[in-house]
Symmetry: none
Subunit: 258 residues, 2 copies
């Protein structure tokens, strides 16, 4: 039984993970130089070769920069930043981003939309109407509405982006607000907004479509904030550098229409 049980990961991978964790955890500050390869090898109890392989993988991952004859440095801004350990952007950030991106998408779609697209969009309106009471179904129809508009551009990348943005609708603030977000009045407003967007698309009017989409998402953000203000006692600073502070208003300006 002297078998090497579950040790599937190759050494260099384990070392790389270890070093990467130290970096992420802040043990090695951004821009600082980490110990020499020989030193790392000694500390970790492995050969320098293995350390080098790990460093190479980290270099490819963009977490580290190797300067010959000088040292290995923590990259100031790892391009391959991890997002799995994160709640994702806050609601206001997300809505501001959507306002900007989906606004443009709506404008583009207005020029390319087909009859079949419009029919599919109107179907989502019906679905939302019929989903009366079923929040999950209404949510699904809502999502489909936005994704289908992106699909109307005939650009898979855009559709993917919209879908991904919707997927990010998570985190504490989202779940906290969701329950209060399904009032009859809001449902009606959303339907009206969606219908207006469809109308603009049907008219083939890019400017109107962009405006309608932005108006819609701006309204959502507004309603969102209204439901957040009263019980502000809750620690809105759940995470994120700018969830409820003025910086978000600035991101509002991001999608700023002018």
């Amino acid at each position: 039984m002297p078998l090497t049980m579950v040790e599937p990961l190759r050494l260099y991978r384990r070392i790389a993970d270890q070093i990467a964790e130290l970096i992420d955890r802040g043990e090695f500050r951004a821009g600082s130089r980490l110990p020499a390869e020989r030193e790392l090898a000694r500390e970790l109890g492995v050969s320098r070769t293995s350390v080098r392989e790990a460093i190479i993988s980290l270099e490819i991952a963009g977490k580290v920069e190797v300067r010959v004859g000088n040292g290995i440095f923590v990259r100031t801004r790892p391009a391959g930043a991890r997002r799995d350990a994160d709640d994702g952007p806050g609601p206001f950030e997300l809505l501001a981003a959507r306002r900007m991106i989906e606004g443009e998408i709506a404008a583009a779609a207005a020029k390319l939309v087909k009859r079949s697209d419009l029919a599919a969009l109107r179907a989502t309106l019906d679905a939302m109407r019929d989903a009366d009471g079923d929040a999950a179904r209404r949510d699904l129809a809502d999502r489909e509405f936005h994704v289908r508009i992106a699909e109307a551009t005939r650009n898979g990348a855009l559709a993917h982006v919209v879908d991904a943005l919707w997927e990010q609708r998570r985190g504490e603030l989202w779940t906290r607000i969701e329950g209060h977000f399904h009032t009859p009045e809001l449902r009606l407003r959303t339907l009206e907004d969606h219908a207006a967007i469809v109308d603009a698309l049907a008219a083939g009017d890019p400017v109107a479509a962009r405006a309608a989409m932005r108006r819609h998402l701006a309204r959502v953000a507004r309603e969102f904030q209204r439901r957040l203000e009263p019980g502000a006692g809750a620690h809105g600073a759940a995470r994120g550098p700018a969830d409820a502070d003025p910086a978000d208003r600035k991101s509002g300006a991001v999608a700023g229409d002018e």
Copy 2:
């Protein structure tokens, strides 16, 4: 002349490129086993250590699969448990989407950019300039440039979108074109484009920033297409079994501005 000429690329990178080219060129068929590390080392006239480092980088890139005690195999199409199941959007779709989205982001960033952001952006220009010859480093700097602009909006969702779009830069067409995409002239053009964008941002001019970004990405798409089209006077004549299916072109119109 004890000086080291212009041969700054680390050995393992050159080896990796060499092997990758052999794979792309079909010398090693998909699924087949390539020569043993010792054999490759002997044939390439380098040490086995360097070959191993190259193999590791190829493994990370997903081009190759290492089976302990068995051999190194050319990875087949499926990248394993990838969520997308397909190659993702084609280059033209992706560039069209980026043109639209990053154009708006640049405009927004122009109104919010700080001195530190500009400094960071200029640092990426230097990095690209210094990365002379090292395509990977240049690529990293390029990515960082675009992501940092998104970060200048102080909206994490936007930064995430840009990063995700870059991440999707995969698939057959991408890898096939990548090798021909690093000419000195194109490098200069990219640098000029980037510099122009930074200037517009520094001037706080949203309209100019949007235009500069769109111009940049449009140029990339144009160069991309030029290298895919037959003729055009340049070299090219990319061999390979009839795989030039420009089905991705469809979406070019989406970002069709003006």
